[in-house]
């Protein structure tokens, strides 16, 4: 079964290529493709690599800004942070592989996103993981969650990139299709950013890193298909990560990039050698010729098709300057890495693949990489919205024991402490972690400067399900708010868009609306999109996940000493709320956990109000008067207050708080109205805080005082008194009971 495999309609269909796409291939080649070429087109034109369904919508995202050095289109985005430094960051999904083999799927997801960062010349210094699992009471859910977390820990810890934050949410809607989104950030001298482009005819093309095996063949196409019964059979494609080799690659590549021997470099991620070769050629406006006989292999008998499509991990492709080959190879030898010249840059724009003397594939690189199909898929507003939007929540009974409701919410896995997860991650390496996991955003100092970075990953699939446009907006707003609570000014975002099948009009509509919402919010906050990733086909047996856009937000602190945390600091401090609580229970965690409902409209987001609240909070932090700042989101004000009391690493502090307002008590306590931040200040600074709020036009009310051994919540018709130990127990054990 060498290259001679006949190109039949069945073979074409089994590669996920439509008849129109096939005609396009014939047009580009001026002939029929052979088997190898068919494989190459199928991976490059898969949804995962070509963005064929999403591209028309992504165009609406703002990507420009004064500090943006590189927007979407390269391996990662690049943002100028002053002092001659740039940050490089991106987020990627590894959902499908993580369902098939949770540990390795998550591990290789971490490896992949790290490569995207150091490929650009930046040293990776931080990871965030955003996770969605099915219920953990279920053995399968627990197996997947445990495996994914262990895989992220196993790879991230060994490779030496700290995981400084993330998020985790649990719902039935992810039971058949977990989400594993990993964000990575690196730092580099601004003048030394490398791009993934080839250039200079005659320059050598060098393969570096692990040997090629049959792993992950058709990984990219797998990520472009929904799970059907029997997809567990696809298991031979599972890739195993080798964090040790990746660590060597990081060091060797960064060492290489400090010299003057490179032209361009790209990791081999999805679609491996195929993607890296044709993209580097296409971006550089040149051709590349490679000889597969030279590619280091782990297995015998591999045919060109397999070598080109393999997704073996921990491999890089680079173009060096002619005559400098020896220096390049020398550095890789130092690090005990395989490095082999496998080809040359050519002038003719062709991706030419040989095996020994024989040409086995010959495709114009640019059309292969850039002229893939683009679809403007049908869209339709889903029917379920009729029902959820009209749901009458006012007739729900208000629970009598509101304190017990709070305890129950604190113990629900979406809200409970994530310590059982993040203590498995090294989150302190590089001595930058000024604010460790467990607050609204991670804060890293930037060595050699006075500055800091705040990082947060956020997204709420339930909101997006109930109103995709608002869900997109809310995700950006919450991410920005988290970064602001840490004392940083939001700079830019990356994102992962996790949706069902784009071939279904309802899903496509959700997607378009969510992107539109994100775009509007990004414009309002001045945080451009520097890149991201789209993961479609997140469905099992026809049931899609909640549409889940995840935002990775980066903020800058001009002065690291202003880093703020969410927990109360001292008895007697005064508690304020920026923002207002409305009668909004739709889509809340309370509605789900207590009433078993996922319906209604998510909280409305007024972008002007959000901006005012964030500006006031940031100004107050920068004025040095804020002792703690915490955004009120999942679980509402009551949960946020409880977290302020018990989430600190040291002493727990009680509080006495009075909530006023015309809204029903459960909405007052557990509703998730947007644009709210809880802050505490010393009594002496109370007036100044009110003045700052007034200057920025942010509503600001005094709620009460820090102190005592209880959290006391009072309002019209209710009073709850909860001992700190009870709050803490519920919150601290909610997840550990499930994960161990």
């Amino acid at each position: 079964m060498r290259e001679s495999k006949a190109i039949t309609p069945d073979l074409i269909a089994s590669h996920g290529i439509s008849s129109e796409e096939y005609a396009r291939i014939q047009g580009i080649l001026g002939r029929d493709p052979n088997f190898t070429e068919l494989g190459i087109f199928s991976v490059m034109w898969s949804e995962h690599c070509s963005y064929k369904s999403s591209r028309v919508h992504l165009k609406g995202l703002p990507t420009q800004g004064p500090c943006i050095l590189q927007g979407p289109g390269e391996n990662a985005g690049v943002v100028d942070i002053g002092d001659g430094l740039a940050i490089v960051f991106k987020m990627e999904s590894h959902n499908h592989p993580s369902f098939i083999e949770p540990y390795q799927g998550a591990a290789t997801g971490v490896g992949g996103i790290i490569r995207d960062i150091f490929t650009m010349g930046a040293r990776p210094i931080a990871l965030l993981d955003s996770l969605r699992f099915g219920p953990l009471g279920d053995p399968k859910g627990r197996y997947v969650a445990g495996g994914v977390v262990a895989g992220i820990a196993g790879y991230g810890n060994a490779v030496g990139v700290p995981t400084v934050g993330g998020e985790l949410f649990v719902s039935e809607r992810y039971a058949g299709n977990p989400l594993v989104n990993v964000f990575c950030l690196g730092i580099a001298p601004k003048e030394r950013i490398w791009l993934a482009r080839a250039g200079g005819a005659g320059n050598p093309v060098i393969y570096v890193g692990a040997k090629t095996g049959r792993d992950g063949i058709h990984g990219a196409t797998m990520a472009s298909e929904a799970f059907a019964e029997g997809s567990e059979e696809r298991r031979p494609t599972v890739q195993v990560g080798d964090p040790f080799r990746e660590k060597l690659l990081i060091e060797a590549c960064l060492e290489l990039m400090a010299q003057d021997v490179l032209v361009g470099i790209q990791d081999m991620g999805a679609a491996g050698l195929t993607c890296s070769t044709c993209e580097m050629a296409s971006r550089g406006g040149v051709g590349i010729e490679i000889d597969l006989a030279k590619v280091p292999r782990r297995e015998t008998g591999m045919i060109p098709y397999e070598v080109m499509l393999s997704e073996s991990q921990e491999r890089m492709l680079l173009v060096a300057k002619r005559g400098r080959e020896a220096e390049v190879l020398q550095i890789f030898r130092k690090w005990d890495l395989d490095a082999v010249i496998i080809g040359r840059v050519t002038e003719d724009g062709m991706m030419r693949v040989k095996e020994g003397g024989q040409v086995v594939a010959e495709i114009p690189a640019h059309p292969l990489a850039e002229d893939g199909p683009v679809y403007r898929r049908c869209m339709a507003r889903p029917d379920y919205l009729q029902e959820t939007e009209r749901a009458d929540l006012s007739c729900l009974p208000v629970p009598r024991r509101l304190g017990e409701v709070l305890i129950q919410l604190l113990g629900s896995p979406g809200i409970a402490s994530k310590l059982p997860v993040w203590r498995q991650y090294d989150h302190m390496l590089f001595c930058n972690s000024v604010v460790e996991p467990g607050s609204d955003a991670a804060v890293l100092r930037i060595q050699g400067t006075r500055k800091g970075l705040a990082l947060s990953a956020d997204g709420n699939g339930r909101y997006t399900y109930l109103d995709p446009y608002e869900g997109g907006k809310l995700a950006v707003a919450e991410a920005a708010r988290n970064v602001v609570c840490a004392g940083a000014r939001p700079l830019a975002i990356t994102n992962c868009l996790n949706f069902g099948s784009p071939e279904r009009p309802e899903i496509m509509w959700q997607f378009a609306e969510a992107v539109r919402g994100m775009a509007d919010a990004c414009r309002a906050f001045g945080t451009p999109v520097t890149g991201g990733n789209v993961s479609f086909y997140n469905e099992t047996l026809g049931t899609a996940i909640f549409p889940t856009p995840i935002i990775g937000m980066v903020g800058l602190l001009e002065d690291i000493r202003h880093a703020a945390t969410q927990w109360f600091k001292a008895e007697g401090d005064v508690i304020y709320l920026f923002g207002e609580t409305r009668d909004e229970l739709g889509g809340s965690e309370y509605l789900k956990v207590i009433h078993g409902l996922e319906t209604g409209r998510p909280p409305r987001l007024d972008l002007d109000r959000e901006r005012a609240v964030q500006a006031a909070c940031l100004a107050a932090i920068q004025a040095g008067i804020v002792r703690s700042a915490h955004d009120a989101a999942d679980g509402g004000l009551a949960v946020a207050l409880a977290e302020c009391c018990v989430s600190g690493p040291e002493a727990r502090l009680g509080a006495i708080v009075e909530l006023r307002g015309e809204v029903r008590p459960d909405a007052l306590l557990f509703g998730e109205s947007a644009s709210r931040i809880l802050v505490s200040v010393t009594p002496a600074d109370a007036d100044r805080l009110e003045a700052v709020a007034a200057t920025h036009g942010a509503p600001c009310v005094r709620l009460g005082k820090v102190g005592g051994e209880e959290l006391i919540l009072k309002g019209r018709g209710f009073e709850c008194r909860l001992p700190l130990a009870r709050l803490h127990d519920a919150w601290a054990t909610g997840l550990s009971q499930l994960l161990e």
Binding site: L248, Q424, L429, C431, V434, Q447, P649
Partner: protein, 229 residues
Amino acid sequence: MRVGVLVFPGTWSHQDFAHVLGDVVRSPWGFVWHKERSVAGYDCLILPGGFAHGDYLRCGAIARFSPVMEAVVRFAKEGGPVIGSCNGFQILCEAGLLPGALLRNTCLQYRCQWVHIRTENRNTPFTRRLAPGQLLRIPISHGEGRYYAAPETLAAMRARGQIVFRYATADGRVTAEANPNGSLENIAGVSNEAGNVVGLMPHPERAAEALLGSQDGLPLFLGAIQTVR
């Protein structure tokens, strides 16, 4: 006085040690690549944390055969101060410079967290600046830090004062719940018989600046520098 920071393939805490040496305690330092055969010119050696050779097979098992280790053994035998933290501790045990071995944490998971350790022996170059019984608040970050030595070995170590640190509660009690990994007798750090070679699982370099929450690791650096001067 010049400190050599060893770098094995897969080591990752070397930059953090370099940062503390260069930017915090301002002592001359240099990296020593594992393929080198000499440590001439260094007065003190640090084996940092990480996953040398991926920690495959056993932590430190392959690294101890790196070319540089012969020079390290010679340096140690001649009484030079050597400290291994985390993976460095594991390598020193595998190399036979320290007694015992480090096994998988009893919880079978990696643990990155702040702990307290109690100073049990001030008679080493690294602990001389500490008070008797001084408590240090310091991070750990490892999956295999469960200290083990055979009962006879342990008894001899106790007798000779080779137990340098024990995990303790915030108020200094050595209890089971203060033990993050199941180490025998809560052992967090040990020395060789002569006292010039010390290994500990915690990361002193992560506790050297107030901004990061603790400076309790600093005396270990200062002690070593002072010894050599």
